[in-house]
Amino acid sequence: MNYELDRITDIYNKLIGPTNELLDRNTGSIVINEDKVLSINEINGLHIEYNKITDGVEINIHVDADIRINDPVHLCVGMLPSEGRQVIRSRIYIHRNAYVKFLAHCIFQNAKHIEHIMDSEIYLEDSAEMIYKEEHFNSDDGEIYTYPKIIGEIGNNSRLSEEFKLIHGRAGNINIDYDIKQNEKSSCDIMTKIFGKKKDNIKIKESLYLNGPYASGTATSRVVLIDNAKSNVFGEIAGNAPYTRGHVDCQEVISDGDAYASATPKISVNNPLSQITHEASIGRVNKKELETLMAHGISKDEAIQLIVRGILR
């Protein structure tokens, strides 16, 4: 193994768990540090091609038609240096009737000043299913700029489930921008969970366009803020075809300090048989939840921690 892979897997071990799966020859995976692919493992039906680009890597992933990959495919992306810029430009194609689950771990434990750009395109052909879980592990005190962007299209009868979570460290500056078009009888659920502190600045834009009949989608975000952190959430669903169903659900909690949160749900329909709903709430930790836990004998701070942990779980 090379030195960089050793270091990445060490950090992975400490933060996430055993690297058995990550390096298992029977598990699909790719490990990237800065602009270098350190490890890659293709399995039956999974094809990963890559090219070096300026400050990063371009990846094309294909899952063949009718292939079901039961074990999660691991995407491990990180920056070992404390400063720098990383661009990951990925195109993911899930072909007809295929199934795959990706676990993406983005590791920036040493970050002092890092810019991380994730430009993704996701295409699901008909009757395909893709689950994509992305977890970020940042440093506690660094300046980190994260720009996850997804443009996607989901085919007929296909399903995409996407989740973004900040698991550790400062959010820094996060600017999420998702834009997904859905065809007939497709479904899409996107979920973002971030804890912001100090001067973190979080922007989330989740847009779903239900263009095919019977398409359904949810755009959910959970943001908890303390100190001087800021967040701005824009959740959008457009019902553009009959029998489409969608729901925007945004909850931002300011648990302490002078944090600022704003939420803008935007829902629209251009078909009388479409039904799109939304709920958005911004505020402190729910008083009843807080006092219920306090009535069990735990302190206010402990109760807040428990509630926040639950919201972001």
Binding site: N286, L293, M294, A295, H296, I298, G310
Partner: protein, 245 residues
């Protein structure tokens, strides 16, 4: 000092925007006593429950609350809970992302499995469920009772545990109350239910922010059903009528 006295409420008033919600409340709860409080809607029963628990926005305008000989009037909810008081809300709070197991493990003195079994919920089916709106109101209420059982408090305030539940759940609630008593807990039971109220020998009748009577349960329930349920007023009960008690 009477060592049997667990809770004493002395000359308690609660006023919002110049209106007295509770007036000169005097009440004693003994160790191991089950004390139902009945009264029509808006008489101040739940307000009294909130004041005893010390919820925010429910600080008495006047009067003292003594628990185990200690003045708790100015203590926080947590401090009161640490002394042994807890409250089960009429509509329990939901918690996103918190599983039943985690909830029933907060300061518990009984295993979550045992507590769930007691309220008739299969631990295998419920332990990993999240305390959100995927649970029905009845299920959520049972889990709340399980949590009350598991922390083995000295005083439990149950705010309308029977509202919005089915008949089978009523038996479970009554069993929980008996179990609490068996464990040495006292129970203040805010209720409208005759069946629930007759679990005790004595009960308290409230009207218009006053405790109008504490006494024989059967007599007070008879009085309540005859006069209070049909009463359009929220005001003083005629002394002559009261003398019937």
């Amino acid at each position: 000092m009477d060592f049997d006295r667990l809770l004493e409420i002395k000359n308690l008033y609660f006023n919002i925007n110049g209106k007295d919600i509770l007036k000169d409340i005097n009440l004693t709860v003994k160790k191991g006593e089950i004390l139902p409080i009945i009264g029509v809607n808006g008489t101040g029963k739940s307000t009294l429950a909130s004041i005893i628990m010390g919820l925010s926005g429910y600080k008495p305008t006047r009067g003292r609350i003594i628990f185990k000989g200690e003045d708790i009037t100015d203590l926080s909810v947590t401090a009161r809970a640490k002394l042994g008081i807890t409250l089960a809300w009429q509509i329990p709070a939901n918690f996103e992302g918190i599983a039943v197991r985690e909830y029933l493990s907060i300061n518990n003195k009984m295993s979550p499995e045992e507590a769930l079994n007691f309220v008739g919920l299969n631990p295998k089916s419920y332990m990993d469920r999240i305390l959100d709106d995927s649970l029905s109101g009845g299920e959520r209420k049972r889990i709340e009772l399980a949590s009350v059982l598991s922390i083995k408090p000295s005083l439990v305030i149950l705010d309308e545990p029977d509202s919005g539940i089915d008949i089978a759940s009523m038996d479970i609630i009554l069993n929980v109350i008996h179990e609490l008593k068996k464990n040495g807990s006292s129970v203040i039971l805010v209720t409208h239910s005759k069946r629930m109220a007759t679990i005790a020998d004595k009960l308290v009748l409230m009207c218009n922010g006053n405790i109008v009577k504490k006494g024989d349960a059967k007599k007070i329930i008879k009085f309540f059903e005859h006069y209070c349920k049909s009463c359009g007023h929220i005001g003083k009960i005629d002394e002559g009528v009261l003398n019937e008690l």
